[in-house]
Point group: C2
Chain length 421, copies 2
């Protein structure tokens, strides 16, 4: 008997037929004797419709009212799933964020969960009732108002609830059957990873792999909550229940502690992010405090600067500063730089969105030297020029011209032995 949180995203509950399918997934777990809390997103398209109504009403709008409008989407799915479960003979009840309550801070539109009292819900679960919980939302208690967690927040809701319920696993059902070594659309030989460490998943999530929301992985990592990515589109009966057979852990990808992963590869996956833009500031005076003058105003304007490369220019007194930002933030970045030109003192600014960031990720890198050198050599052999580099303990990212993206990903996938047999 296990306590299982099952989260179903928008495509998994896109219409009544799929909600009924989701109910059968839940039934499988209940029939196996597991206690289940199901966390649901809004039906695909519903949240977009709600957001567009808000924007049509006013481009500038009160984030608290935005939340009140947008939070309605999950209410619908939760109620429908509870009804679908009841019609399968399963005791079930829907819970809205404020009813549990899921407490959040005041950052409406991108709130953080600050607490969930899991005990009352745990008692219901122990009594055999399935709790169907609205993802993506909670309540800001001081003003008693609904708050949403921002796009993809239902993953975070699910992990937070799993922690509060001391669940054995948090199963995130989505439209893919797990986490892959890289995007299978780019590399047909990409393999599903049976297990991946929290740290690796965190890097993959923040590097553009859309399977799990970054914040949910952070939360899972901090609390060591085993989280599994699996597909709701597999027939409910064709899948073993959690704890139901020895093979249940072979389904999907389990995000877990690295100690749990017996045959750890040096590199676990190759990620790439296309929505990068490169900015180069030419001939900046090479003097103390110049980085602060450039990046201070950008930070104030909420521009997230990622990679930074500083080159000495020929004359030795000036430097060229290159950095990357999200492509969507490029116009704002150029605006800020224009306004601070006098203060910084530079010759010109050049920018390009025709770049991609390709990253190799693996906790094995910590104990293996030469991973980066291998990477640089393989890319050079293919004639791919590296525009910038950043590294962490378990990740190496390079910025390259966009035209080489697929070539680079395929080359690295083969290089680190990730190709399917």
């Amino acid at each position: 008997m296990a306590v299982v949180v099952m989260k179903f995203g928008g495509t998994s509950v896109a219409n009544v037929e799929r909600i009924k399918n989701v109910a059968r997934h839940v039934k499988r777990e209940v029939d196996a004797g597991n206690q289940v809390a199901a966390v649901v997103s809004a039906m695909t398209g519903v949240t977009n419709q709600l957001v567009s109504w808000v924007r049509e009403t006013s481009v500038l709008h009160d984030a608290r009212e935005y939340d009140a409008v947008v939070a309605s989407g999950e209410m619908v799915t939760a109620g429908l799933l509870a009804i679908a479960l009841q019609s399968l003979g399963i005791q079930a009840r829907s819970w809205q964020g404020w009813q549990i309550p899921v407490i959040t801070d005041k950052s409406h539109g991108s709130a953080r969960i600050t607490g969930i009292d899991g005990e009352p819900l745990r008692q219901r679960l122990a009594a055999g009732e399935v709790a169907v919980v609205t993802g993506f939302q909670g309540i800001e208690p001081e003003n008693n108002r609904l708050a949403t967690l921002g796009r993809g927040g239902s993953d975070t809701s699910a992990v937070a609830l799993a922690i509060a319920l001391k669940a054995d696993i948090c199963d995130i059902y989505t439209d893919v059957d797990g986490v892959y070594t890289t995007d299978p659309r780019v590399v047909p030989k990409a393999r599903r990873l049976p297990k991946v460490s929290y740290e690796e998943m965190l890097e993959m999530a923040s590097l553009g792999s859309k399977v799990l929301q970054t914040r949910s992985v952070e939360l899972a990592m901090v609390h060591r909550m085993r989280t599994r990515v699996l597909s709701s589109f597999v027939a409910p009966d064709a899948m073993p229940a959690v704890g139901g057979s020895n093979s249940w852990e072979d389904i999907g990808t389990i995000v877990c502690d690295e100690d749990e992963i017996v045959e750890q590869q040096v590199v676990s996956g190759i990620a790439y992010a296309k929505d990068e833009a490169k900015v180069t500031i030419l001939k900046v005076a090479d003097k103390p405090g110049i980085a602060a003058r450039i990046f201070g105003p950008l930070a104030e304007a909420n521009v997230n600067v990622d990679m930074i490369v500083q080159n000495l220019s020929a004359d030795g007194r000036h430097t060229d500063m290159t950095f990357t930002v999200q492509a969507s933030e490029l116009p704002r970045t150029l605006e800020v730089l224009k306004g601070t030109k006098a203060d910084i003192g530079y010759f010109d600014v050049k920018s390009s969105a025709d770049v991609v960031k390709v990253s190799v990720i693996g906790v094995g890198m910590r104990s293996h030297a030469g991973v980066a050198a291998m990477m640089f050599k393989a890319l050079a052999d293919k004639g791919i020029n590296i525009l910038a580099i950043t590294t962490s303990e378990i990740k190496i990212s390079v910025l390259i011209d966009a035209v080489y993206a697929e070539l680079a990903v395929r080359t690295l996938h083969t290089l680190y032995g990730l190709d399917k047999d």
Copy 2:
């Protein structure tokens, strides 16, 4: 300065453009110095979509989950109207039923409001904030679950809120500009009534006039809450604010105490209801307790019996019993009668849905004799046969063949001097 509750139905908030129009109606009142609480329904079509999803999920469904799903519609409108108001520079906040809270009983799907603490909201209003409140819903406190009031419940929400706020008037904005002496589609000479008494409105509402929900009128009557019916489709600037000029009470129809109506007509309006069905039970034994044997089982089956006529048959030992029910309840009625045939002991049952109930309504009847006699004579002069009659202190209803409906309504409208000059 007045405290005004303004209620906007589904067609008044059918899309963002109309919600912005509603915001301008509210602004007119705020600009005039009034304190405003706005009660909103779901956008037209939204509730139907939600209900159909529930039914698609399961024909039999938990009423509490139905409520959780369906209550989401008003959340959307309330948030959007708050945003629209803010963008006009008006301080506003949306309130969901549970946030106020609007307390209800446990009759999910058709709950009754049992209490509203108006004081906190009153303070907000006094501080210049517009409260935008979700109609149609409240919270059942014992289980902390959403409950809806049933179709048309937003009118009741508005009146209940007006009472809790000790409002000066409850303005119900709809797609017609008031209550008419009869349906203008049948009688082009129908006039708008500037004022109508609670008692008359209650009869009109329960007799098929769809302008106000019956329960909302009952509530207004018990608490003497002046309630006005007016159109949201009139240009917001073309209408005086409440208390804003001497003529503001000339807009729409005010439902009020009969003492307030100076020139009271004997008859105020002619109502008709087409969804009636007539049932005749032939040759019932004429003995004590027979009515209980017929109508007891019907009441248990939740069939609402309206008019009842009992005729002695020729032999003096049997009687024919005729009564009317809602047309939609006719199949159930016949089913029940079939099951109780042995117990009642009758010869046959005949039924017809080709009947209408036409009613003349007016508090003036109390002090005027001969109203009914005039009616019967006028109908007889036109060759219209009366199948059944019921009366109350302020109403006379007759059941006639459906083909005569329009003729009867026009005849009576002229007879009682209601035709427009």
